[in-house]
Subunit: 140 residues, 2 copies
């Protein structure tokens, strides 16, 4: 069986022997990140304790990078995996003018964010990538 998360969809901003961090190319949500466990594991509770702490810490570091660089009003964290049962975390910076706010990003869209606003957020992505790499390398 092929799993799209075993083969990363985007170049990793950070990768070590345990996990990878990517910035998702999402037109409506610049700064959307994923922390992906490298091994094909289904649930958080399938990980041994040390590995759970490791992925939780990675999610925390990426959240801090999002808060400092993207300045969202809220960060959304989710580990779903119904379609692709390969452990990964979504980290989504949310804004009052985003397509679904205040609903989750999986709800129907209620607006279109102005293109210059999205452009300004996209312009921060190189900084975001650098900040994630800096935090993850410091931690490792």
């Amino acid at each position: 069986m092929s799993c799209e998360l075993c083969a990363l969809a985007a170049p990793a901003v950070y990768r070590d022997d345990k996990l990878s961090v990517i910035i998702v190319d999402d037109a409506a949500y610049p700064g959307f990140c994923r922390v992906i466990w490298n091994d094909h594991v289904k649930e958080m509770s399938d990980l041994p304790q040390a590995d759970r702490l490791l992925i939780n810490e990675a999610v925390y570091q990426v959240e801090l990078a999002l808060v400092s660089i993207m300045e969202p009003v809220k960060v959304n964290l989710a580990s779903l995996g119904n379609m692709v049962p390969h452990l990964h975390w979504h980290l989504i910076p949310r804004y009052q003018d985003d397509a679904q706010f205040p609903s989750p990003v999986w709800a129907p869209a209620v607006r279109t964010t102005a293109e210059p606003v999205l452009e300004a957020r996209r312009a921060l992505l190189p900084q975001l990538a650098a900040e994630i790499a800096r935090r993850m390398e410091k931690k490792a």
Copy 2:
């Protein structure tokens, strides 16, 4: 400002001085649980390290209780908080016949689960409550 999570919506299955666990009364999703930080804090990254570990461990214990009692095909974990910026985790047992599978529960419903199936899942809730309490008290 009033916050609906500062006043718990359901009786807690477990509560200590830091956090509470409730089973949400959701007609389509028996076994839907929330782990709620007692203090009015916004983001995971606003918690000091020891408290982050504490809430992560609670989410893990409730996930294990869901897996063993509810036997879902997948557990969904999410900390969103766009409407109520008071730190809480949703834990949702997912099944192939549930209202939104394989989409997130916040997507439009695609089916109605047969009532006898929902009834059978609801019948497990006392066991689920006992297993959560047992795991949380052992941990504490």
